[in-house]
Amino acid sequence: MSIVACHDVTKTYRQGKVEVTALKEIQLEIEAGGFVALAGPSGSGKTTLLNLIGGLDRADAGRIVVSGNDYSELKDSQMAELRLHHIGFIFQSYNLIPVLSAVENVEYVMLLQGVTAAERRQRARRILDDVGLADKYHRRPAELSGGQQQRVAVARAIVSNPSIVLADEPTANLDSKTGEGLLALMRDMNSRRNVTFIFSTHDKMVMAYARRVVTIKDGCIADDRMKAA
């Protein structure tokens, strides 16, 4: 059963007087538990597709169904609710809240979900232990390396028990060794928790880790390759 289904999804942007079609009638289905890379050069539309799947933007045409929810039937508040409980995000530039410590950044999502303080603390610490940051609970982002910040971002994305994690160029600001460590971590999360990971990337290392690579070019799917198990 597909956890993500895109049917004839089209998205157009206006840049000044010019209309740019970022995505043209995309057809895509992703199974639950997938570890999928949306690959392609800059401007291909991969980030746009990721944003549409994450409900951060709305398609101009077509349908997107995520975890059984048809986005065209949801209001903005319902989309926000869906993101809060079912979708985790990892960004290229980490996007941690600078005035909160590592554990507080991870707790914040659960605070929005209404989880009790004691449970928030326990789950946040456990997930930080899982990502190898057991001794960094109380460090603020400015006191962490790029790799450590991205691990906190991974922890934040996972801690709310989402069905899907969307990662936009997660290794772009990391060196190859750190990036590889992060990918191994996410792959491990994918296996243990059966969380679906969808990446937007042009990093070959990410593509190598992915079990399925969907190549997007000029707003269309140019290639869709599943690797052997």
Partner: protein, 408 residues
């Protein structure tokens, strides 16, 4: 960890910017409190000055006396009038009967127009300023017959002193010119030099004898326990006494300029508060907008995580709330300290003596701090501060996650 903790930390992300807003709020609140207290002190001084300077809270006259204060318009049986009125006065009220007519004071060298006030010294001391204002010589006694107490400024004008004679001349009840010599026993000092030059106090029996008034008096002045009882008490006493022979007036009617200033006072304070706030409000909006635009990506993240727009608005309002609260606390403390400091010496307006006297203001202004003014200033700042913060807060809530996250 709650939203308030995040809001508190956020306001210290840029300490210099927060300090700018704080200084604006502190100065705003401090100036609101101080100006309100000083204005209240000025107006309170005008009211107290007016009431103490023979006006009292109420006056009872023969009905034509206010328009023409001559001896013909006198209360012929003041004992009977007080017999009717006294039981209807609030507890702890005081009263004094006076003869008050225009007269000419003269000595060998000078002469000038004055108001001769015949008083019962003991009763008068409880009603007006004169009992405690004699600074040289002595006050009048109930058994004095030819003693007179004049103002220090009048004595200087007349180049005279205690122990010397002063002649008072006026029209008596028979329409003839009456005059009498008095011996100066005391000099009084008042808030305003004009008061010192205007009034000459003699025993009421001496004035009645001189003007052939028998037991009649020109006015009965009443001092009530509080300023704000006057209007209602005057109305009540007028109904009791009827309107054909006697007129009862409150201090508000006798001092129309002071009453007008009092009414203006509340509007003035409101306008002042508004002006201060408008100046402060632009600063708050500007710096909050800067803070919001600097954190666009963060708001994009929060929306991506699923934070509702209402909660984003709430978090920015919480930041404004903490900043305003801090500024209000320090501003109020500074206001209270300033008021306390000025309560010892006041603000001396002697340099503006004539101008201040013309306005009926006391020479030294003491601030009057009321809880309602302090609360009012803080509430204006808090409520309007949160209201103007709504604009940047709403802007932050409106960013779509995509446009906010793509902001560099």
């Amino acid at each position: 960890m709650k939203d308030f903790k995040l809001a508190w930390r956020n306001i210290w992300r840029n300490p210099r910017r927060t300090a700018v807003i704080l200084i604006a709020v502190i100065i705003g609140v401090w100036s609101m409190i101080c100006i309100a207290a000083l204005m209240r002190g000025i107006v309170g001084g005008m009211v107290s000055n007016g009431i103490n300077t023979l006006t009292g809270h109420l006056q009872i006259h023969q009905r034509d006396y206010p328009d023409d204060p001559v001896v013909d318009h006198r209360i012929k049986d003041p004992g009977a009038v007080m017999g009717m009125v006294a039981p209807h006065l609030p507890k702890n009220s005081q009263w004094s009967q006076r003869v008050r007519v225009n007269a000419v004071a003269s000595n060998a060298r000078h002469s000038t127009g004055v108001t001769m006030v015949g008083i019962a010294p003991a009763a008068e001391a409880k009603v007006s300023f004169i009992g405690t204002s004699v600074t040289a010589g002595r006050y009048l006694k109930d058994d004095d017959t030819s003693a007179i107490v004049i103002g220090k400024a009048l004595a200087e004008q007349f180049e005279t002193r205690i122990g010397k004679k002063l002649i008072l001349m006026s029209q008596d009840a028979g329409g003839e010119i009456a005059s009498r010599a008095f011996r100066i026993v005391g000099l009084f000092q008042a808030e305003m030099e004009a008061t010192e030059k205007r009034y000459a106090f003699v025993p009421v029996s001496s004035a009645q004898k001189m003007l052939k008034m028998q037991d009649a008096v020109s006015e009965i002045a009443v001092l009530l326990p509080g300023h704000d009882m006057a209007a209602e008490t005057a109305t009540r006493l007028q109904k009791l006494l009827g309107t054909d022979k006697l007129i009862v007036q409150s201090w508000q009617q006798i001092l129309p300029m002071v009453t007008a200033v009092l009414k203006l006072y509340d509007y003035f304070v409101f306008v002042w508060f508004l002006v201060i706030f408008i100046a402060m409000g632009f600063g708050i909006v500007n710096t909050t907008l800067m803070s919001v635009f600097e954190r666009m990506r963060e708001f994009g993240l929060l929306k991506a995580l699923g934070m509702r727009p209402g909660r984003i608005i709430g978090s920015i309002l919480a930041e404004s709330f903490f900043t305003l609260l801090l500024g209000m606390g320090v501003g109020t403390t500074m206001g209270l300290l300033t008021g306390w400091g000025l309560s010892f010496s006041g603000i001396d307006l002697s340099g503006l003596a004539q101008g201040a006297e013309f306005a009926g203001m006391a020479r030294i202004i003491f601030p009057i701090m009321l809880a309602k003014d302090i609360l009012g200033a803080n509430l204006v700042v808090l409520i309007l501060g949160l209201l103007v913060s709504l604009y940047p807060a709403t802007k932050a809530a409106r960013f779509t996650p995509v446009e906010a996250l793509s902001h560099t």
